[in-house]
Symmetry: C2
Subunit: 748 residues, 2 copies
Amino acid sequence: MDSSTTTFPPSELLELWFIGQHETSRATPNGPSQTLRDAQDVGYDMLTTPITTASFQARVATQVEEHLQKLSSATSPDAVPVPLISPFSPKDTELTPNDSNSALVAVSSPWIDLGSTDPLIANVSLQVFNLEIAYAAFCGIQHVMLHGPLPGSNTVLYARAVSEALGMGPYIQLHILLPMVGELEQESGDGTHLAELAREQDVSLPEEDDLSEDDFSSWDTWDTLRTVCDYDSRLSIALEIPRQLPNKQVQSRWYSEPVRSMIFPHTSFLRNAKGFPVLHKSHQQYLTQFMRLRQTPWILLADVDPIVPRTESPAPEPTPAEAANLVQKDPVPHLRYLRHLQQTQPPRAPIERFGQGYQDYMQSPLQPLSDNLESITYEVFEKDPIKYDWYERAVALALKDLSAKVGGKREIIVAVVGAGRGPLVSKALLASRSSGVKVKCWAVEKNQNAYVHLQRRNVTDRLWDNKVTIVKTDMRAWKGPVVDGNVEKVDILVSELLGSFADNELSPECLDGVQHVLNPEHGVNIPQSYSAHMTPISTPRLYHDLLSRGGTEKWEIPYVVMFQQFDFLSLQHDKDENPLADVQDAWVFSHPAPTVILDQAEARRGGSAENGGAGGAVGGDGSNEHNSRSCKVKFTIQNHGVCHGLAGYFESVLYASESGEKVELSTNPVTMEAKSCDMISWFPIFFPLKTPIHLPDNAELEVSMWRQTDDRKVWYEWVVEAFVRLNGRKQRVAMSELHSSRKNGCLM
Amino acid sequence: MDSSTTTFPPSELLELWFIGQHETSRATPNGPSQTLRDAQDVGYDMLTTPITTASFQARVATQVEEHLQKLSSATSPDAVPVPLISPFSPKDTELTPNDSNSALVAVSSPWIDLGSTDPLIANVSLQVFNLEIAYAAFCGIQHVMLHGPLPGSNTVLYARAVSEALGMGPYIQLHILLPMVGELEQESGDGTHLAELAREQDVSLPEEDDLSEDDFSSWDTWDTLRTVCDYDSRLSIALEIPRQLPNKQVQSRWYSEPVRSMIFPHTSFLRNAKGFPVLHKSHQQYLTQFMRLRQTPWILLADVDPIVPRTESPAPEPTPAEAANLVQKDPVPHLRYLRHLQQTQPPRAPIERFGQGYQDYMQSPLQPLSDNLESITYEVFEKDPIKYDWYERAVALALKDLSAKVGGKREIIVAVVGAGRGPLVSKALLASRSSGVKVKCWAVEKNQNAYVHLQRRNVTDRLWDNKVTIVKTDMRAWKGPVVDGNVEKVDILVSELLGSFADNELSPECLDGVQHVLNPEHGVNIPQSYSAHMTPISTPRLYHDLLSRGGTEKWEIPYVVMFQQFDFLSLQHDKDENPLADVQDAWVFSHPAPTVILDQAEARRGGSAENGGAGGAVGGDGSNEHNSRSCKVKFTIQNHGVCHGLAGYFESVLYASESGEKVELSTNPVTMEAKSCDMISWFPIFFPLKTPIHLPDNAELEVSMWRQTDDRKVWYEWVVEAFVRLNGRKQRVAMSELHSSRKNGCLM
């Protein structure tokens, strides 16, 4: 049971879509505030606006051209001072400080080239950029959109300028305008682009030396930017959605990144049969995916549905013919279409509804053995539409098998250990009813509060009918069911002790501790076995979240988290050639454990010389060493990317009947649909990496992982190594620290 | 001037060599303490000794074999408990707690296999290892030598065991026995090696998947170990020196690592003409290199000159013939040879003598403009055997050129700015004497304490003869030399303001500030120009040193350091095909600066609108922007390795005469021998990387570096990116943070 989810999920919120309008060359003759009001009148929530005017652009271009002329006639180029861009005059900008500026996204001049390999152009661009950012901040504007670096320019130089700008004010947020692949589709601005004035430079890096272009090139640029800016939360992406969406891998990569706004240029729209603008099905799906994020991006319509200034004097009353024409000529058909999409979003899956508010929220797993759960937590888990039904099916199958073994001579003894508020007791009784096999039922619970509830339910619940024996004890201390004064053995021991990574809430230790009550000949555990699984992921969001926390222990903890904004790095393909995560097995636990193993463990407790004084782990005497595990697994990374950690899952066989029927649970994305679709009880687990690992195409990732144990607790350790094959030789490109949750281990 | 070297270097220490004896299968019938006494009697300083006995080894092997038999007859392998190794009995070990144990290196059993892919063997090996380490620690032994992982075994698994062992006690130090290349040459032990008992395993990684073997494979193993152990200072190397030394690159790689002991097996010795054991010239040189480290490794002779137990009763008086034979039969010829080497070590170079005690010691550069130097610091710098002579040569050349220009009509005005205790004044006067060109000399100094000294020297120094005008002022505030009541201009402005990275102690800013006193037609600066240079290095020692310090700012500071235990990662070859660092140019400064540049800078001070209010850097008005610099340089890494940062150097042209003669200074290892051999005044600079970067063979490293400035200070920023070419495509494998020394910048 995922005991970390201790509060009730909030009810589903109405989806709010913030939609704005972006104009590549906006004119705001009446000032941006008036244009914003005009836009809001027709239904927009926000607007982009340039920071400076065309006349400012012309002034700068002239200064650069004059400088170049001076240079050409100078004896030494070093003796010509750089042109200085003087501060704005009123005709350089139409922005003013204004309350309504919170609904404006200011756009930095698209005609500068911060990463220019010509130092002159880079210098002048930086002057313009700094003037603009400082002025926007002065005007109380929080959001500034900035064109990404030009192809072939120096991205690190560009990134440094951005990093510096983020330091200019604590509130300013920068949205870097980037295409998903290739180049931007929206119109480029008018006037002289400074890059056109760049001189041929003696660049130390020849041009063919650039990173090879591929579908991830634009993402590479972003990766450089955010790395130089140390994952600053005020740096995000304005992602332009192209006419043709790139492949799923590129889509999911961008989805995992902090996209603050999605830009839809006119090229991204199709026309339907009636001539209205619509989005392609794939675009709609991609948009829906984004609009379900905890922080939804803004939607910006670019160069469509322009804002028409209201004329000062009211228009004359239209003639009936004119009025009819006006109705037909919707001034904002693209906006109207998006509002329509907003209202017709498909319903969410159960796990999404359940997890609402928990997306990408990292929780430290609780201490299941030392903490008592609250009733509301139980209630949440009991709502799972799948899990308890599967338990009922498993118990029914086991009852049939056992009934055949004991020849139907006696009632089957079923014990639910860790009964909580009793849902598994009910399911066992229902299984008895449906299978026709009679049972005697015990419920064992250590939580004294739940114990009250169980006793009351035994009296009030018709199904229970006062026939369940309730025992208040830690299951490990239970002597077993007493029938007619004799201690009997349990035939079926039912428990729900699994954590997000199968064994991480000490199910193995608890079930070992109660195994003495189980019938040694034919006793059955439900679940019979469970296994841990994992896969490497890219999750800038969680990495940034951890980075912003204090201390260093944060990197050494596995977190329970409902992943949302992340990307699988190692892929396989399903039978329909759709990409699917490559999730690999870590290890497995089966119950009951062989008696000799538990006997040896018991003998080691206390560390007598005969039974070995030095266990596998330091300081312990090894009584739990049989529950330690380790694995080394290997993943292939198809597309280059950055690994921030490992996502962990579990699978469990509740019961495999002698007739071959299997009842299973799974959170493993590869098998969950087939094994336990729509189950909501568990979120996955996240093993973070302190230092993100850059992986080139076809890199090989090797994960070493341990479940460690001493006599007091259980913890995990993990190391990740990355390799490439260069001319057939395997070579290391990265190696993580040894991460260990020892200090935050699970107490036994 | 490298103002960070503020204390006088200690006098050269006598070299102490600690030499011990190592026996692959040592028997200590009278106990290790007695054997140690026997060894010390013949001249050894120390001894290795096994922790456990052959009988213990036999017991463990038997237990494993019995377990394997049980397994072969068991129905399920899971139902056979692992064999438990019970604690030592007296016959398992000859070690006891003893004061003399400090001169013992305990050797962990070489027959275990901690990295075995057979879980049984790995488990039993870990039990043995933990018992041994714990017992050695109990006995007060500080140093334990441990055989490195077996070829083909799981190095990460091995590393985890080592990491755990380091946590067993705060004093225990582990020396990992590793060959320089290939496999160990010393004899392997007797008895059953547990690896021989390993079963074929379903290993998830097929064997051909191992890192490809090359000359760096043994180093790769070490790199994995120390990375998993997070550069623990208690983890070091016992390096076996082979008969044939590997190439220089492999030699220098090991030299950069924490080698705690050098093991010389009998194969590493040759026989000279008289039949005595000697080391090859190359071995001698490599040994000498190591013995000059600040912390010298121990020398262990392996399986030669065995320790002969003294017989209890004194031997009978030898006959004369026997005595002669005894003299001939030296029992420890190898030891004697090494003692001979110790006494005949070659003398050290001046920079080594000067830097004794400073090797790999990181100093933060001082604030040259706000701190006053102490006399002893000046004294140290004045001892440089090259620098001041080169200044004299430069001034003499300039005097000749200028004398020709002014037609010998008047005395040449020489000003030494930042005169300190006056060494450059003396050199200027000597240059005048040698060139026959008459001078009038000014000495400008801001340090009031040095000012007293200068005045006194003017009276007492015969050369000065009261003819030097001493001015107490910051050079930037000096109005210029006053001759007959008129302010004249300076013909030659001499300064020594260079730092380890050329401009890092604000030479550009100071010389700009004093340029107004220089004759605008023909005034000469000495130095005329200076440039910064850099190259990537591997330096585990400095990385570990920084890692062990608190805070995070430590990664953002360039340190002045005399590199010793480090390795150049990017190599070129000199004309004799010897490897040589590839050191690349960052940027250059020349003086005097063009007047228009300084005029613009002056105009920007105060930020009036006409001259541009927004400088290149945030918050400043740009009056020093002309002294900002940036570069992007590229290095090729030939052999895979780990980059911990950049080593920085400088070159300077003191004066290039009109006849083509050039006087230059250099700390750049590529040019220093030709330009200013034996100069001692500067140590290099180190730009650290927060996260070490793993580089595969033929990786490309791109360094972006900036000299940043606002109106108050100067600082550096650096970013490092690593790429590989995969199938002809350039791909990123690593990118560092943006490092910035802004918070620790040099105040103007």
